[in-house]
Symmetry: C4
Subunit: 121 residues, 4 copies
């Protein structure tokens, strides 16, 4: 029943990791995530490039999403400075689907945002 | 005036059901939902597969959206563990439209996220 | 420089108007909105059909977005019961762009969600 | 590895800048943003037109996103009145990707929304 679904190039134009948090870590730590589904039968190898406002891009950082698995990667785990505007370009050797999420707990009660990333290729 | 609109394969790459809630249930219980519109004149039969980070996918779970109806299904009602990353693949025998929503009431005041799911086929 | 942009059929699968609010009305009243841009040089006439879980759809309700104007319509102004799941189908005689938003002030501090609607035709 | 990704015409149908804020400025000032990624090797020149409910559009306002850079522009910096419905049309001479975000701090704790803009051309 499973089939290969998705695209091989995705863009998340928004990027901003807050510097402060309220609540227990890691759940309530302010963070941004790219959620990736690889519904296919072969592992997907992703290359993530991070763009900034005032300097050359960093990366690509390489991550793998095994066949028939999902992985939710926190951008916090990459060397991205806090309170800094960035964007990300995700390239994969297999079709995947990417969704972007931020949990923002700078104030006492959390806020969330999410959108499917832009399928660019 | 009504016509058949939508697609037959959708992906929600984000998935995470919080373990705690504030406020009256069921409205304020932390939950994730897939909202499905079947604007057509025949019932749509959906198969929902849930993907995880570290084990094989579960399902497919079968649900029906009757002709000219909407149904908002809570992922909480499937056997998905709480505080666990997942993704979902929704396949339908008739065109439908799928939108994803989370209400997160872990802290005192709720947070919301929503996006149209990715139309994969 | 202006040109006709957008599509003529849009779907918002999520729909739910909370029954309570905190804060001054109308800004902080819990509401759902469809934001429509008509960037073209002729008025756009929209027909909005509302779908429910357990009964036939209502409408179509007719609204106009004048040429080179935006209109943000509150679903609260249609005869949609509160605390009820619904979906909406928006058909236009001219290309427009539709974005969906909810402001939810059931608890002390507001929550927001938004997504571009699904372009179905 | 970098390649030119994106589209040259984008629409954000939602637009509303709240008039009040809680928390330190500029981070917690209520604002709407368009986040733009130019992953290509040439600068992108953007023309932003703002549409209103009851008067002719303003602009186009011109901004540049340098090659291989991201820029997050606040709509607050344009002459858009507060507490007023608007929409925006973004035209670029090079492919870019646009994502829309609002941070709303009218009440004590912030709310967020985000969506990829609609790719209209």
């Amino acid at each position: 029943m499973l089939r290969t679904v998705g695209r091989t190039c995705w863009v998340i134009a928004e990027g901003y990791i807050p510097n402060t948090s309220h609540g227990p870590s890691p759940q309530m730590e302010s963070h941004e995530t790219m959620c990736v589904l690889n519904a296919g039968n072969a592992d997907a190898h992703l290359r993530v490039t991070i763009f900034f406002a005032d300097r050359d891009p960093d990366g690509p950082y390489e991550v793998t999403v095994p066949a028939r698995r999902t992985r939710h990667f926190r951008f916090n785990d990459l060397p991205i400075p806090r309170e800094t505007d960035y964007s990300s370009l995700i390239e994969s050797d297999r079709p995947v689907v990417v969704q972007h999420t931020r949990l923002d707990s700078r104030q006492a009660d959390l806020a969330l945002l999410s959108t499917v990333a832009f399928p660019a290729g």
